[in-house]
Symmetry: C2
Subunit: 126 residues, 2 copies
DNA sequence: ACAAAATGTTAGGCCTACCTTACAATATTC
DNA sequence: GAATATTGTAAGGTAGGCCTAACATTTTGT
């Protein structure tokens, strides 16, 4: 399968990556709770991510991220982190609100705009 | 019908409003060109917007915005304008890139975050 | 070890937003 | 005032992303 992930799949990947970092493993039900979607939707997303070589898994088996998946997830997570920092430290939003905005904007902002925001934030908080 | 518009419908409304402002009228084909979608998709969107009382139109008739539609469009347009200003004046992006980012982010940013960005931009360029 | 509970999957359906193709109505132009 | 070009619509299809209900598998507790 091809590369570019949808916003939705990026969200799944991000959650999976974060959960594994914290707990070593991740189950469909964890993802389902975190994203407020049904377990069935998680299964569907996992199939898609697997078909795009972002992770490995088989029916009832455990979920493992591939190199490619990890790289992709890190790209998304780092975007999230920087945006969140901007909303919190520069604009002064509450953590929760900053996170929610970061989560939605990370999928649609351009590379260039993202880099500018990061730079700006770093200079600003110095 | 109910209120809240999807990102997509917000885009249609914005284009319609801008086009009317500039040219007095707007046709389906203008919208289609501006948004890079088929004329058929425009018809579909117009039906939805009409059902939500955002505009008036009938088969082969001309398109007129309602009070409600104008209000809604202005809300979206003003968001777009402020965000664009932020990307251009604060971050230093090219006009085109700033506009594209504004266009995508305007649909997902929270009210509070938007207000903060506007304020910040105004203070910054002073 | 085996019943009960938790978790995962499948099937089938819904909605949005897009498309193409074919046809209908309106505008233009000779 | 036709013929032609432009514009608008209807029908039917695709794809993504979600759902519920029913069923399969695995885990847990005694």
């Amino acid at each position: 399968m091809q590369e570019k992930l949808s916003s939705s799949l990026e969200d799944y990947l991000e959650v999976i990556c974060n959960h594994i970092d914290k707990n070593k493993t991740v189950r469909a039900v964890d993802i389902s709770k975190k994203l407020n979607v049904s377990r069935a939707s998680v299964t569907e997303a996992l199939k898609k991510l697997a078909s795009k070589d972002m992770l490995l898994y088989d029916r009832y088996g455990s979920i493992t991220m591939t190199e490619k998946g990890i790289k992709e997830a890190q790209r998304v997570v780092s975007k999230h982190t920087s945006l969140q920092k901007f909303f919190e430290k520069v604009l002064g939003l509450e953590t929760e609100e900053a996170s929610q905005n970061a989560c939605r904007i990370e999928h649609v902002i351009s590379e260039k705009a993202f880099e500018k925001i990061s730079e700006f934030t770093e200079n600003y908080i110095k």
